[in-house]
Amino acid sequence: MSSIGTGYDLSVTTFSPDGRVFQIEYAAKAVDNSGTVIGIKCKDGIVMGVEKLIASKMMLPGSNRRIHSVHRHSGMAVAGLAADGRQIVARAKSEATNYQSVYGEPIPVKELAERVASYVHLCTLYWWLRPFGCGIILGGYDRDGPQLYMVEPSGISYRYFGAAIGKGKQAAKTEIEKLKLSEMTCREGVFEVAKIIYKVHDEAKDKAFELEMSWVCDESKQQLRKIHLFFDAFNSNPILLLATFCSDDLLEESKAAARTALEEMDAD
């Protein structure tokens, strides 16, 4: 699949004879090298999950967040170069607060996606700027309901029911397509996302990973909340921890459910 554009790939302001801008395609390859990021739109909200590949055992679990909150009602999961992602998130936050101060209402997700996409696209227009090497999955809940967008390094942005980027995106997309998203609630969606990430994780190539998840749905009062899932190194059982508002019974229930689900998966 690797196609080298000899001579036409030196600058983002050069087209190749067959109409491609190679620099942008190379930027997309940087995204493909990162851990899988998926997002799904359930009937009452959005769930996003990131397969965070751990570079060193010395890293504190829960650090190096890949899912960022942009505004109360929306968040972004970043795949690719983390530093580039930070820049985009900062811009998105600034756009969201600016919109709120001018128009007096939270930025609609569609508008936010358009602004992020234009910003990413901006960096593909000048020779003195390199394209962002990250793909973004943006999920939010506004007055028109939950919405999921994906922004690629080229600046294209589409709205999706389910999206995946990164290493295992092909496998993840196949799995997402199997799900009946319009009938699923976010609570069920959380488990599905966790299962998919585990499934697409390549044990051979990348050993340790941390699963990071967030959701914004009716249950979280249309606000972005983090879901912590810790990978227990000893007996490979994930412990699913939902954010502060859930009760202990629910926590135990989710732990048990996640464990059985993974056992079923391992049994495949």
Partner: protein, 269 residues
């Protein structure tokens, strides 16, 4: 200028100091002086005004008088103070005519762009916020009180008052302009939650006509705009269609009736 000098001259010739003091008082309060015969037609046009915005069960009714004054002179006796911002949001203007027109024009422009980007009609709250930002950030230069009213599919009918200084306040009903001083008590008594469209419109027309009767800077006709899910309706109530109040009514059992008799003898009832 001329009047001042004339009066001062008179004062000098009069023995008592009373007229002199009166002339000083008059020259100090030029705006309200009834003896100000030299009007300045280049003075800023001010809308003395009475403006009202009222929510009802299903939408809003905006109402205003139609007098634009330049000092004592009525520059326009049939002006339209209810201006359109978008298809579903209108604003009632009061205070300086120029300032309120410029603010409305800017906000109409911003809202137009916003509607295109959003892909759907702007909400009343957004319109009100834009007006508020302009009013607040330019408070040193502007003198205009506005009432934004409209209907959107998320919140229904809403009224926002943006008085001088640029505060934004959402209210079930709002009154503004110089004539509104005479309506506070009236609304305290007459306002009810959940009125029908006709009740609300009648309330607005009655209120504006009461204010016109008492406020010298309000007058002319009463214009109303009704905004709801079905759209916008403009209504016009000319002076002769309005109810008469108190001293405007025909006198009944007035003591002046004795003048019509052949031998008027006062104090002989």
């Amino acid at each position: 200028m001329k009047t001042e000098r004339k009066l001062e001259k008179q004062a000098r010739t009069v023995r008592s100091g009373y007229l002199y003091i009166l002339s000083l008082a008059l020259s100090a309060s030029r705006d309200t002086a009834k003896m100000d015969l030299n009007m300045d037609s280049n003075a800023p046009h001010s809308m003395g005004t009475t403006i009202i915005g009222v929510t009802y069960n299903g939408g809003v009714v905006l109402g205003a008088d139609s007098r634009t004054s330049t000092g004592m002179y009525v520059a326009n006796r049939a002006s339209d103070k209810i201006t359109q911002l978008t298809d579903n949001v209108y604003v009632c203007r009061s205070g300086s005519a120029a300032d309120s027109q410029v603010v409305s024009d800017y906000v109409r422009y911003f809202l137009h762009q916003h509607t295109i980007q959003l892909g759907q009609p702007a909400t009343v709250k957004v319109a009100a916020n834009l007006i508020r930002l302009l009013s607040y950030n330019n408070k040193n230069m502007l003198e205009t009180g506005l009432i934004v009213g409209g209907w959107d599919k998320y919140e229904g009918g809403k009224i926002f008052g943006i008085p001088l200084g640029g505060t934004l306040i959402e209210q079930p009903f709002a009154i503004g302009g110089s004539g509104s001083s005479y309506l506070y008590g009236f609304f305290d008594q007459a306002w009810k939650e959940g009125m029908t469209k006709d009740e609300a419109e009648q309330l607005v027309v009655k209120a504006v006509s009461l204010a016109i009767a008492r406020d010298g800077a309000s007058g002319g006709v009463v214009r109303t705009v009704v905004i709801n899910s079905e759209g916008v309706t403009r209504n016009f109530y000319p002076g002769d269609k309005l109810q008469l109040w108190h001293e405007e009514l025909e006198p009944q059992n007035s003591l002046l009736d004795i003048l019509n008799s052949p031998t008027p003898e006062p104090m002989n009832i």
